[in-house]
């Protein structure tokens, strides 16, 4: 997204007051590897230029390429993680954060990363992820058990009505936890979580969808049979790709979708990678599950006594 001049000025000042010229350019190259400040400006090929001029040029260039928010994320990380072995204190941090909130962004409490506030905007990349860059995601794949039977036994209108309801249930459980729906293909829905404690958020969202469908079956179902779903969850590192066909070829996504062959109906099955740091309530709810088909997983099933 494009940012306004006042904000750009604020970030330029902060950059100039926090970090030396050479490091500023190195930071810019984190996002544009061959970044050459002279290529976009009339600045001389010398570093004997005022810091503020360089900072302004970098911020303007980042803004022009819609990279200012990712650049701010890189910039913010130097305060907590340091940069090339040195720690920095970011000047005007508070002012930048307050302005970002006003612009509809939030700060992830776990990573300190800036992302779009879902109350204002919901885009597939949270407004900040870059095409082709690797990130860690927790993916959730929802699939309706024997969906073709519902299509055969019910009117087209009733099935469409149900699908709308189902997609809304998944959307609500996902987006309320800052996840994103990445792809819908009929009864299959792929969601992704990246910010915060993304594994827990994904697990909770899957439980909410299972429960909401159970309530739907109990109180509202207009179809001839109860609707059952299978849910698969997997955490992995993959590059962010906007194109779904290409995304589906990535291992962490393929591994997630394959879980529909393992998950029993009305259950969510998670791989070890999702459960690595899970404790408390979720660790009680998801118990070890030895699939006869392949390997060890964790499972949550909705069951009642005597039923």
């Amino acid at each position: 997204m494009k940012t306004d001049k006042t904000f750009n000025k604020l970030v330029s000042q902060s950059l100039a007051e926090s970090i030396d010229q050479r490091s500023m350019i190195h930071l810019a190259r984190e996002l544009i590897p061959d970044y050459n400040i002279q290529a976009y400006s009339n600045l001389p090929a010398s570093l004997d230029i005022p810091r503020l001029d360089i900072a302004r040029q970098i911020v303007d260039d980042m803004s022009r390429f819609n990279l200012l928010i990712p650049f701010i994320n890189v910039f913010f990380s130097i305060q907590s993680k340091g940069y090339k072995g040195r720690k920095y204190k970011i000047s005007k941090l508070r002012n930048i954060v307050v302005t970002l909130f006003d612009m509809g962004f939030s700060i992830d409490p776990v990573t300190g990363q800036v992302y779009e506030d879902p109350q204002y905007r919901i885009s597939k990349n949270w407004g900040v992820l870059q095409q082709g860059v690797d990130y860690t995601f927790t993916f959730v794949w929802y699939d309706i058990v024997q969906s073709t039977i519902h299509l055969k036994k019910n009117s087209h209108r009733d099935v469409l009505f149900f699908y709308q309801k189902y997609h809304n249930l998944v959307r609500s459980a996902t987006e309320s936890r800052n996840g994103r729906i990445w792809h819908i293909e009929g009864d299959g829905v792929l969601t992704a979580f990246h910010f915060g404690d993304h594994s827990s958020k994904a697990l909770y969202s899957s439980i909410e969808v299972l429960h909401s469908l159970f309530s739907y079956n109990t109180f509202e179902n207009i179809l001839d049979n109860p609707v059952q779903i299978r849910v698969g969850l997997n955490t992995g590192v993959t590059e962010y790709i906007d194109n779904h066909d290409m995304l589906k070829t990535k291992d962490p996504v393929m591994d997630t979708i394959k879980l529909e062959n393992i998950s029993p109906p009305n259950s969510a099955v998670a791989t070890n990678t999702v459960m690595t740091s899970i404790e408390g309530v979720l660790a009680s709810a998801f118990t070890p599950y030895d699939s006869k088909k392949s390997g060890s997983y964790f499972i949550y099933s909705l069951q009642w006594e005597n039923s």
Partner: protein
């Protein structure tokens, strides 16, 4: 006597509509049979649609019926799949609705004949009707109708958080208190949306009142969904290390309404029953319905309850447990 119909056909279900004037009628989908049967009272009449069942399924279903002989069963056979109708009657069934008969509505006259043939012995006390014996004092406009000092019928909900010791061990006393406050605030907002008002609080216990009025069945769905989602409530809202299993008792009774400051001075049989049950009857961590409530709840929810021992002259139902932590 209540009539239950288990069928997957909306058309067949609608054939029983003419019985609504004289009987309580509940139409369920057929796969609800196993979960609903325990909540059906002796003396009730149950119709079961056998259309599309495989031969072995049919055999199992019929055996199941015979085992539950205290309830009266009829068969609906839209495709004439039963080879020997007489065998059904020898096995204790009381009605058989054939394909041809399904062209017409089922009439009250037919039920009268069945009752005469079967010589129904209705139980003296049918739980489903006990709320009707109460002197109901409705508040049609909810809290807008309620005046202090006057008696009204309320759904009275008792709530007790049971995991206090575990929370204290994990978080300490002070933080546990803040969790209890979170629970209270959450419940105030959650039940407030269902017209419930927090009336009495005592540390980890709370008593809510919901004015009795027509069409307030949302209360049952609300409590049901709250318990269904207790994992999310425990983990995401309370940040609790354990899944909380609150004790909940729901009773329909008459109470003289006093404002919250004076609530502790209100005296009624209903309040006595709830407090006695909470202290000396319930198994902690369960959801109980008293007999006055059970007749009001939607059949879909009723199927998630089973009978519990009676207490102080009242019958109770207990909600079946959701199984968490099971290994398939």
């Amino acid at each position: 006597m209540n009539i239950y119909v288990f069928t997957n056909s909306k058309k067949i279900g609608s054939l029983f509509d003419s019985l609504l004037k004289d009987y309580e009628l509940f139409i369920y989908k057929r796969d609800m049979f196993n979960t609903s049967i325990d909540s059906i009272n002796p003396g009730d009449l149950v119709y079961y649609d056998i259309q599309g069942l495989e031969a072995d399924q049919l055999y199992l279903s019929i055996s199941d019926f015979v085992d539950k002989a205290a309830i009266n069963f009829g068969i609906i056979d839209p495709k004439s799949e039963i080879a020997s109708i007489s065998d059904l009657f020898f096995a204790g069934f009381c009605d058989y609705i054939s394909k041809k008969e399904l062209a017409y509505p089922i009439t009250p006259g037919r039920i009268k004949k069945i009752r005469s043939y079967k010589n129904f012995n209705l139980p003296d006390k049918v739980i489903m009707n006990s709320s009707l014996r109460m002197n109901i004092k409705k508040a049609d406009k909810g809290w807008h109708s309620i005046q202090e000092g006057k008696e009204y019928s309320f759904y009275i909900l008792y709530f007790r958080l049971e995991e206090v010791t575990q929370l204290q061990n994990h978080f300490g006393y002070k933080f546990t208190e803040s969790i209890i406050n979170t629970v209270r605030d959450y419940l105030k907002s959650y039940f407030g949306a269902l017209d419930g008002k927090l009336w009495i609080t005592d540390y980890n216990k709370a008593l809510f009142l919901f004015p009795y009025k027509d069409n307030n069945q949302n209360i049952f769905m609300g409590i049901f969904n709250f318990l269904l989602n207790k994992i999310l409530f425990s983990g995401e809202i309370l940040k609790s290390p354990v899944i909380v299993n609150p004790t909940i008792i729901l009773h329909l009774g008459n109470v003289t309404y006093l404002n919250e400051d004076m609530a502790g001075k209100s005296v009624s049989n209903s309040l006595n029953l709830i407090f006695h049950a909470a202290n000396s009857y319930v198994t902690p961590g369960n959801f109980y319905l008293s007999d006055t409530v059970f007749g009001c709840i939607p059949p879909t929810i009723a199927s998630f309850f089973r009978r519990a021992p009676s207490f102080e002259g009242h019958d109770f139902m207990i909600m079946k447990n959701q199984i968490i932590n099971s290994q398939e």
